[in-house]
Symmetry: C2
Subunit: 186 residues, 2 copies
Amino acid sequence: MPHPKVREDSLLEALQGVFCRHGFEGASLSLIADATGLQRASLYHRFPDGKAGMAVAVLERVLATFGSTVLAPLSKPGDPAARVRQTAKQLGEFYAGGKRSCLLETLSLGAPAPAVRAAVQRALRAAIDAFAAVARECGASPAEAARRAEQALVEVQGALVVARVSGDIKPFERVLKALPERITGD
Amino acid sequence: MPHPKVREDSLLEALQGVFCRHGFEGASLSLIADATGLQRASLYHRFPDGKAGMAVAVLERVLATFGSTVLAPLSKPGDPAARVRQTAKQLGEFYAGGKRSCLLETLSLGAPAPAVRAAVQRALRAAIDAFAAVARECGASPAEAARRAEQALVEVQGALVVARVSGDIKPFERVLKALPERITGD
DNA sequence: GTCTATAGCTTGATAGAC
DNA sequence: GTCTATCAAGCTATAGAC
């Protein structure tokens, strides 16, 4: 593809926005066409598997960028607490300070295609594993590390939902601030 | 209405299930008709405002039953911690042990009608206020009580999302177990 | 690689018989 | 109060020109 009208990256970014705001069933192709600037037929050329293929592609790209930006500090050397603080900061940017919903939530609603479900689960697993690895470094047992990582994910997801419903991002900010101690165990 | 084919209560219960699983945009009238056993036209007779009216009716009914069962222990006399424990137990049943999503989450996705948005916000506010009142009884300042109540809601919502994505209800069970100390402050 | 055009179905909602 | 029948508009997806 020498001259795509819309580059892969901005295409996926626009797709992400729509899936983020409307979920899988709510993301109609008209909405997607408007957001991407491509016609329906062009979208099917880029994503032969249709809407499900678009969702999987978005999830895979998010998993990649999420890993290389948000989760990257977690697997670097240095003080664990400082690394988690850095990741908390990245999380704040990734979710636009709490104003953006998480694809794992929005794309898991309804009856998504099996490929979408699987991609969502992979992404959640990756995030949990990354947090758990840091907790282990802090001396937690495997079971305890998993518990802390899951709790961290629970709080982030919950804060995003509460923020969407209430319009109040303060709970999200508090969750991010408390994130390091949730992982290190104080 | 002397002889409705489907009684108001079971009608709303079926509606709740569909909105719960699919959200507002994903809950099509065909899905709703199948779940309720009524034809589309009959649904419009019962809910002249259409799908938005159905969602609001479900939210109002849930707010009522939620208040009279789940939140009721919170406003009774007696040991605050014991009352929150009772509410945690009720929460577990209300959300089917973590296998059922929360309407506040599913109905806030997409671009719901203003009336739906408002009903969702009212319900969230009622839950937060009920928890905050107990926290105040335990000696928390208004600001601290609000913080604890919001944190409790955040954890419940987050655990339900994680449970839906991963199929693992253990984080939800842990959240319920920790709920009393979240409110009382230990 | 993108487009216009269209197929075929489903959507939310209404009209009117019973 | 529920139904069948229907509407216009929306939907996902495809065909084929450029």
